[in-house]
Chain length 209, copies 2
């Protein structure tokens, strides 16, 4: 069940199914090694991975996320549907992995970044998806929490000001992966067919290829 | 040979090995469908894929890239090592896929994006890595060209001003995938061991987990 397409389509963004069971060291090593094998602009490998098991650190982050949850809820005309949705599994998951971006790595001349300042940030995201798919292949769940302010995470984890946190990922064994994304199960939003996203030769109304 | 780890480690950023042979429709469909199965903030699926076969369009882009290659070369104290490196396979590859980001999709309330404006852009990159791995599993090469100015690509492909081009990918059958990244083979830069990128509990000097 570890074939690429199977894993790509089985992968979910997990909030509610973490068991908290341990992750064997060799499994975590394979997952981090897969992340580190991602492509990067100018071979700059501008990512770092902070593996967080410390309970107090995760509790402090959880509290911050709960606050940001309220901030977002306050922007909604009707917050009731949102409040039904679990948005993180920070404390129940086995560990967290924070992925960061260092724009100075590979400087002064990062091949391929002179015209597109964000290219290094893009590389970090490619590593995140490698991590996510490798974890899925290992039957681990991954949940990307994005209800946070970057300066809070920098301060919490002693991250230097020049390094940008890109993702807070909750990782660990799960009871199961849902077949349908949480936001779709809760009626928040529905997935579109892939053909709707495809254009031919130039930007037009999407048409199937 | 299509297992996740094999594909993740076999994947390369291809410039020189494209054959130009056709891509069967069903293969392209699987690859695009895999890209579209990526996670996205608030299930916004903010990406589009412009599949470009038109030779004139690709030639115009190629010319622009050659100009930007010179712009970058002019910033280097010694451009000789750079000039040995092929940076794109726009005309030799079978087709190009431009991946774009639409920040307005899923608005007004994208769940998970209120605190991190770039979260939608991150989603697009996750789709790109899905595409890349699926293509690798199909024995296709993918090369991300980043020597371009975004406004040029917007104009070339009639992309609306609110939509941002994120990647120009060259895609197609290849004679082979190199075992070592081009930039490493050419001595431009070398990969680091993954352990160097891993920190424990907070930002510190990297230590193995």
């Amino acid at each position: 069940m570890n074939h690429v397409y199977d894993v790509i389509h089985r992968r979910r963004d997990v909030r509610g199914q973490f068991t908290g069971a341990p992750i064997p060291d060799e499994v975590l090593a394979r997952v981090l090694s897969a992340a580190h094998a991602a492509p990067s602009v100018g071979l700059s490998q501008p990512w770092d991975f902070i593996v967080i098991r410390d309970a107090a650190t995760r509790a402090a982050f959880h509290e911050h996320v709960m606050h940001e949850r309220d901030v977002f809820a306050a922007t909604l005309p009707d917050a009731a549907p949102f409040h039904k949705i679990k948005i993180e599994g920070v404390r129940e998951s086995t560990l967290s992995i924070v992925v960061t971006y260092d724009p100075d790595r590979g400087s002064p001349a990062v091949l391929g970044r002179h015209a597109i300042a964000d290219a290094g940030l893009y590389s970090v995201c490619l590593a995140i998806q490698n991590l996510w798919l490798a974890a899925t292949a290992e039957d681990l769940g991954v949940g990307w929490v994005s209800f946070y302010r970057e300066p809070f995470v920098q301060q919490l984890l002693d991250i230097p000001a020049t390094i940008r946190p890109v993702a807070w990922l909750c990782v660990g064994p799960v009871t199961h992966l849902e077949q349908t994304p949480d936001l779709e199960r809760h009626g928040w939003r529905h997935r579109t067919p892939w053909q709707q996203a495809v254009h031919t030769d130039r930007w037009t109304a999407p048409t199937p290829t």
